[in-house]
């Protein structure tokens, strides 16, 4: 028996729930879409905790002399 194909109209950034688990629709690396467990933006997490990113000046003062290797 042929398996029926469910056609889904999904777009990047939308959330779907499958068997109680949430996934986010994201672009894959070949021009298509895929789903993966969501990555909560750090701004949302900081807001809950009363935190904020350090300023560029503070980062330069504290970490300016750290090395970098060009990788990422």
């Amino acid at each position: 028996m042929a398996i029926a194909v469910k056609k889904l109209d999904l777009h990047v950034g939308e959330l779907v729930e499958i068997e109680g688990r949430r996934y986010e629709v994201v672009p894959d690396k070949t021009g298509g879409l895929t789903i993966e467990p969501p990555i909560t933006p750090i701004s949302e997490l900081y807001e809950k905790r009363g935190m904020k990113p350090a300023s560029a000046e503070d980062f330069e003062r504290i970490a300016g002399d750290l090395p970098t290797d060009g990788e990422g």
Partner: protein, 130 residues
């Protein structure tokens, strides 16, 4: 007194850890290495050997304000240390600074469909992949 990167604590909060590390199979090499590295860092922060992340990285990532720590600790080359943590310099409500863990993953995934740790960090900072 001037602060240096090594003076500050590294923090692993619950949500980031769950999304970055606990998504991985408990028996996978990547999760085991991440959990071991976290234990080592929390026991002794002098093991940290940060490097600055790129503002214009290889995959179009912008990780301004972030540093990386290769995993396992104490190793550098991609074959010896295939994974990485990314931390962002953040300020607590009391104004103190902390290295806040934001991403974990492979540096150079063998599977081209897998996102690098830098792409995951970019998504957490900017809300989308580069």
């Amino acid at each position: 007194m001037e602060l240096s990167a090594r003076d500050l604590p590294a923090r692993f909060d619950r949500e980031e850890w769950r999304e970055e590390v606990e998504r991985l199979d408990e028996r996978s090499a990547s999760r085991i290495q991440a959990e071991r590295a976290r234990r080592e860092i929390e026991r002794d922060k002098t093991v940290l050997d940060f490097e600055k992340c790129e503002i214009d990285g290889e995959e179009g990532t912008n990780l301004l304000g972030c540093v990386k720590q290769y995993v396992p600790l104490g190793r550098q080359g991609a074959s010896d240390a295939p994974f990485g943590f990314v931390f962002q310099l953040a300020q607590n409500p009391d104004g103190s600074f902390v290295w806040n863990f934001i991403a974990f993953g492979e540096r150079h995934p063998g599977n081209p469909a897998t996102r690098t740790v830098y792409e995951r960090a970019h998504k957490r900072l900017h809300g989308r992949y580069p």
